[in-house]
């Protein structure tokens, strides 16, 4: 074994693998690899073999040493490669000799020698080590050879035995063949006979079943026999049976129908009947009709009983009970019918479903009509919670059939009813609130009328106001609470979009609360408009009270109530709502109009008094004044009463500062002297212009007085308005009369008296001065003989009176 041959066939393993990979990819091998194979998949096998070779080589300790020793020449064709397959010693030596210097040659020579030696020794150890193994292997092989010979004999014997067994077996089966066939035939006959027997017995069995009422059983038998009979009906005997069967079946069907029609049994039994009839092949269409007709009969019965409950004369049971009955009776029945129908006539397809839907719609609408009638009866009642609960049940019950037959739209209709009822409820509450408000007003009227009779002048205005305000507020709250039930979480319809959105914002907030406040304002304003014309059908105190009430609403109550509403009803709807400010403005406007009207009414009362007093008196022929006229005292009294009345509800308000420091006395002296000054020139007939000039100049410097001007919300402003109206009336009336000397003096006295008492009520006392001065001046003009009274005398008379 020289190292060259040993190493030459297997080149180093990585090398070979690389070559193989190259061969595989190239497609055609250059024939360099030892186990070359052209195809990719087969390349695996030689490779594995090569691996095995590698193992062997490892085993012989060859490749590693050699591989390491040789320079890794990549080219296998290189003849100079010591480990290469084409190693050519001549070329190699040639090359060495040609290329290498002497020293290297020497080196490689010694190296070579050393390698050869090492290889030799290795070889020897290998031989020695493996000798024993060879020997034992030879022994084993020999033994195996013996054993196999023995086994062969036994196998031969086994083969013969098996042949015998096969033979026997074949014979046995041949023998049994005949019997087996007969048995099979017999079994077949037996089964046939059983069937025949069943057929022959069928009529009697059916009869029995029918007699016993086991319709289900009968139908099943019939079903089983039907096909066979159908097939063999050309045989007379079968025909007979079939005829029998048909007769019985017909009877059966008859009976079933009978039962079905009697309708005494409940829906499930009917459903069973129908199911059986269907199995008997009765026409589904007709059955379907009939089924629905029966169901209708039953449901109509329910409806009739409901209607009876509804009955016109006897007090209907409470609405909760009613809806319960309706729910369990009618709606339950409808549910059952629908379920059964869908189960039975599923095969009918959309037409059948449509039929059911119409059926449900028709009956449902009748039911709804009944419910609505009942609910309408409930509208008048006040108990919201009961109604809401009833509606809840009603709605909840209808959700089941609603899901079952969506096409009939029962749930929608139910929701609609509930919504309608809710809306009506809102309307009802609005009515209630209005009625409450009017009731309050009536109470106030009575309360105002009563103490006047008793002689106590309006002591309770403030309390009355408080009462009215609180009672209205509590009514509003009660209504809100009642309406709030509709949106309670546990009520089944509260999550419908209507109740979440529109009901809250449009219904409750706008319709109920805003509507009520508006109508309140309108009611209040109506007091200003129509009846006032006819002369105070409304007590003035009521006007005052309403005005204050509206003002209070403007300042606080409206925003409070609306906030309360918004909180309770969590308005989610984004639809526009009336802002608080608008309502407040309305309320303020109402308050202002009411107060202005109050001023007008009271002013009218006083000015009528003054007008009558001026118009009815004969001023030319009066006596010298001794007293202040009673009318003037009355005017002052009334003004004081009004002052007290207004003071109960409205704040004092501001006056012009000058009033506080002007005492009565100085004021009266001042004004008297001024009066004197004003009509003094009219003594001299030569100077007619002076009077006019003087008064005109004075007027130029005084502000124009707006008599019926709008008032502010305070006592002084109200009183000022009333006094202005009264005094202006006095002025105009005086101008229409002609006065004698004493008539003028009487006017003088009266005006002075008024001046004494009226200044304290008004915002600007200058106003009273001006108007009264003008009255006296006008009276002087209307007097052919104007001789005024001494101011001191006037004062004395006034103080006495």
């Amino acid at each position: 074994m020289d190292p060259g041959s040993a190493s030459s066939p297997p080149p180093s393993q990585p090398h070979a693998r690389g070559a193989m990979a190259a061969a595989a990819t190239a497609g055609s091998s250059p024939g360099s690899g030892p186990g070359d194979s052209p195809e990719g998949p087969e390349a695996e096998a030689p490779e594995r073999r090569r691996k095995a070779h590698g193992m062997l080589k490892l085993y012989y300790g060859l490749s590693e040493g050699e591989a390491a020793g040789h320079p890794a020449g990549p080219d296998p064709l290189d003849p100079t490669d010591l480990n290469g397959a084409h190693f050519d010693p001549e070329v190699y030596l040639d090359k060495l000799r040609r290329e290498c210097p002497l020293a290297q040659l020497m080196d490689s020579e010694t190296d070579m020698v050393r390698q050869i030696r090492a290889l030799d020794s290795d070889m020897q150890t290998l031989v020695y080590e493996n000798y024993n193994k060879f020997i034992s292997a030879t022994d084993t092989i020999r033994k195996m050879k013996n054993d196999f010979r023995k086994m062969e004999d036994e196998m031969d014997r086994l083969a013969t035995n098996m042949a015998v067994i096969t033979d026997f077996s074949a014979r046995i089966s041949a023998t049994l063949q005949d019997r087996h066939e007969r048995i099979t035939k017999l079994a077949g006959v037996h089964a046939l006979l059983r069937k025949l027997q069943f057929l022959f017995e069928l009529p009697s069995r059916l009869t029995k079943c029918v007699e016993l009422g086991a319709y289900g059983q009968a139908v099943r038998y019939q079903g089983r026999a039907q096909a066979v009979l159908q097939q063999y009906q050309h045989l007379p005997s079968f025909r007979a049976i079939q005829d029998d069967c048909q007769v019985i079946t017909a009877r059966l069907a008859q009976q079933l129908r009978q039962r079905f029609r009697e309708g005494g049994s409940g829906a499930p039994e009917q459903a069973e009947c129908v199911e059986l009839l269907l199995a008997l092949g009765e026409p589904a269409e007709e059955l379907c009709e009939e089924f629905l007709a029966h169901a209708r009969g039953r449901l109509e019965e329910e409806l009739r009983s409901l209607e009876a409950e509804l009955g016109p004369s006897p007090p209907a049971p409470d609405v909760l009970e009613f809806t319960d009955h309706g729910g369990s009776g009618f709606v339950g029945g409808l549910c059952q019918v629908a379920a059964a129908y869908q189960e039975l006539f599923a095969a009918q397809g959309p037409a059948g479903a449509e039929k059911l839907a119409t059926f449900a719609r028709e009956l449902g609408s009748r039911y709804f009509a009944l419910v609505e009638r009942r609910l309408a009866q409930e509208q008048g009642g006040g108990d919201n919670s009961l109604l809401v609960r009833a509606l809840d049940r009603f709605h909840r019950r209808l959700r089941a059939p609603g899901a079952l037959l969506a096409a009939a739209g029962l749930a929608d209709a139910a929701t609609e009813i509930v919504e309608r009822v809710a809306r009506e409820r809102l309307g009802h509450h609005l009515q209630g609130l209005r009625a409450a408000f009017l009731g309050c007003l009536t109470d106030v009227r009575q309360a105002l009328a009563a103490p006047r009779v008793a002689g106590k002048e309006g002591p309770g205005l403030a309390e009355l106001l408080a009462n009215v305000a609180s009672s209205i507020l509590s009514h509003i709250k009660a209504s809100l609470a009642a309406v709030h039930l509709f949106t309670a979480k546990e009520v089944s319809f509260s999550n419908k979009p209507y109740f979440r959105g529109e009901f809250c914002s449009q219904g409750v907030r706008e319709g109920l609360i805003v509507g009520f406040i508006r109508s309140m304002c309108q009611t209040a304003q109506s007091f200003c408009d129509s009846p006032g014309e006819k002369g105070g059908a409304t007590p003035p105190a009521l006007l005052l009270l309403l005005s204050r009430l509206c003002l209070d609403y403007e300042t606080a109550t409206i925003s409070y109530v609306l906030t309360l509403t918004d909180e309770q009803f969590l308005v989610q709807d984004q639809s526009p709502v009336t802002p608080v400010s608008t309502l407040c403005a309305e309320a303020r406007e109402t308050a202002r109009r009411l107060l202005t009207h109050y001023v007008k009414v009271q002013g009218l009362v006083i000015s009528q008094m003054l007008r009558k007093s001026v118009e009815t008196r004969d001023w030319l022929s009066t006596l010298e004044p001794r007293n202040v006229r009673a009318v003037m005292k009355r005017v002052v009294e009334d003004t004081t009463a009004i002052d007290v009345q207004v003071g109960l509800l409205y704040e004092e308000g501001v006056r012009k500062a000058q009033s506080s420091d002007s005492s009565k006395r100085t004021f009266s002296v001042y004004s008297s002297s001024r009066q004197q000054g004003r009509y003094a020139p009219s003594y001299t007939p030569s100077a007619p212009m002076d009077t006019n000039l003087l008064s005109n100049i004075q007027k130029l410097f005084s502000e124009r007085i707006d008599v019926f001007s709008p008032v502010e919300f305070n006592k002084v402003s109200v009183l000022t308005g009333i006094i202005k109206i009264s005094l202006k009336t006095l002025l105009e009336c005086v101008r229409l009369r002609t006065f004698g000397r004493f008539g003028l003096q009487q006017v003088q006295v009266d005006c002075h008296f008024l001046q004494l008492y009226l200044w304290r009520f008004v915002a600007d006392e200058e106003l009273v001065h001006l108007l009264l001065d003008e009255v006296v001046a006008s009276a002087a003009l209307r007097c052919p003989d104007p001789v005024p009274m001494e101011p001191s005398v006037v004062e004395v008379i006034c103080e006495r009176g």
Partner: protein, 379 residues
């Protein structure tokens, strides 16, 4: 224009159609009362004044004859024996003053001429005269006068020198009923007269002297004055102590057609413009005069109509002028020149765009309708 005396009575010289002339009666207890004839020269803006003495007493009401420029009637009060009695008389003014002043105004103060008494309306049996109205279209022969609770129709005979009581009617009722004012309707062949008493408006037929309609509680308080729409025969305006001016359709007496509430005190006078009935003038004791444009209830709700008389034409015009936006009722102007209560306002009979107002302090103010509005109405 200041007259220098208190005055309440004002009337245009109705028969005069060329010159703008007003008659004003003064009211004074101490001096001789006068009738001032005010001429307004439109082109030069000059006012001429002639004074006639009216010595009978202070003048409460004055009205000029529609037929004769020189004839007028007054209601005046006379004080005698500590009694005041209001009488009425028909007067004729001197010929040379009939058609305007040709003499210098300076003379009038020195040599005031006197009215010639034509006849006396005898009212001794009937009480105080409140006002006198002439038949608007007639020949100046018929006069209605209101005295306390009587309505009296007089026939003037023999060139107005004699007044014969033709017929009368009286108001019966509890309390002291007294007429405050009355107007003669220009429609229905001048057979209707409307009167105001207390809060009630009444219409009378002058042929039978019977009541034809009655508007109870027309105003909350006393009704001071009324006027007929010159172009719409059933329309009538009234004013009163409730500061309101109301417009009525006499066929429906339950509701006013329209209510104005612009004044802040009693409204003493209301007058329709004679040719453009959307213009309504009111005077009040809040010393304001208000000119309102009541287009919506006028005879020309859609602007000027070519043919005012033809009512059937109105339908056509309506459709034609639909494009025109209907005008809004509004207050055109508020005149605040007066310092005292305005007791009388009236339109000029010659120039439909001119009006006068008179306040108690004797100031007469002549105003024009704003030019813009005038052109708006005309064009």
């Amino acid at each position: 224009k200041v007259l220098g005396l208190e005055a309440r009575a004002l009337t245009p010289q109705t028969a005069e159609t060329d010159a703008i002339r007003f008659l004003v009666g003064t009211q004074s207890l101490k001096y001789d009362n006068q009738i001032h004839i005010i001429d307004f020269d439109d082109e030069n803006n000059i006012i001429n004044k002639n004074v006639l003495l009216h010595q009978a007493g202070e003048i409460w009401h004055i009205s000029a004859s529609p037929a004769d420029k020189g004839v007028l009637a007054t209601c005046y009060s006379r004080t005698s024996d500590s009694k005041v009695l209001t009488c009425a008389a028909v007067w004729r003014m001197p010929k040379e003053l009939e058609s305007g002043s040709h003499e210098s105004p300076d003379d009038s103060s020195s040599t005031a001429q006197t009215l010639e008494l034509l006849c006396h309306l005898d009212n001794t049996a009937h009480g105080n005269m409140a006002c006198v109205v002439w038949e608007p279209m007639g020949d100046g022969k018929k006069i209605i006068s209101l005295a306390d609770n009587h309505i009296l129709l007089w026939d003037l005979q023999e060139s107005s020198s004699q007044a014969v009581l033709a017929s009368s009617a009286s108001l019966e009722g509890k309390g002291q009923l007294r007429f405050t004012s009355g107007r003669w309707s220009p429609h229905h062949n001048c057979t209707q007269v409307a009167t105001a008493s207390d809060t009630t408006l009444r219409g009378w037929d002058t042929r039978s002297m019977s009541q034809i309609y009655c508007i109870e509680n027309a105003h909350g308080q006393l009704v001071r004055d009324l006027d007929f729409n010159p172009n719409k025969q059933y329309y009538l305006a009234s004013c009163g102590d409730d500061c309101k001016v109301k417009f009525w359709d006499t066929r429906n007496v339950t509701e006013p057609v329209k209510t104005l509430e612009e004044h802040s005190h009693w409204v003493w006078n209301v007058r329709y413009n004679h040719s453009h009935d959307q213009l309504v003038l009111t005077g009040s004791s809040d010393s304001r005069v208000i000119l309102s444009n009541m287009v919506s209830i006028s005879s020309e709700p859609f602007g000027h109509l070519v043919d005012d008389d033809d009512i059937s034409d109105q339908e056509d015009h309506r459709s034609e002028e639909k494009s025109k936006e209907p005008l809004q009722d509004n207050v055109i102007a508020t005149y605040e020149e007066h310092e005292d209560s305005v007791y009388a306002v009236d339109w000029s009979s010659a120039d439909p765009w001119l009006f006068a107002s008179l306040s108690y302090d004797g100031r007469l103010v002549i105003n024009r309708v704003p030019r813009a509005l005038k052109y708006h109405i005309l064009l």
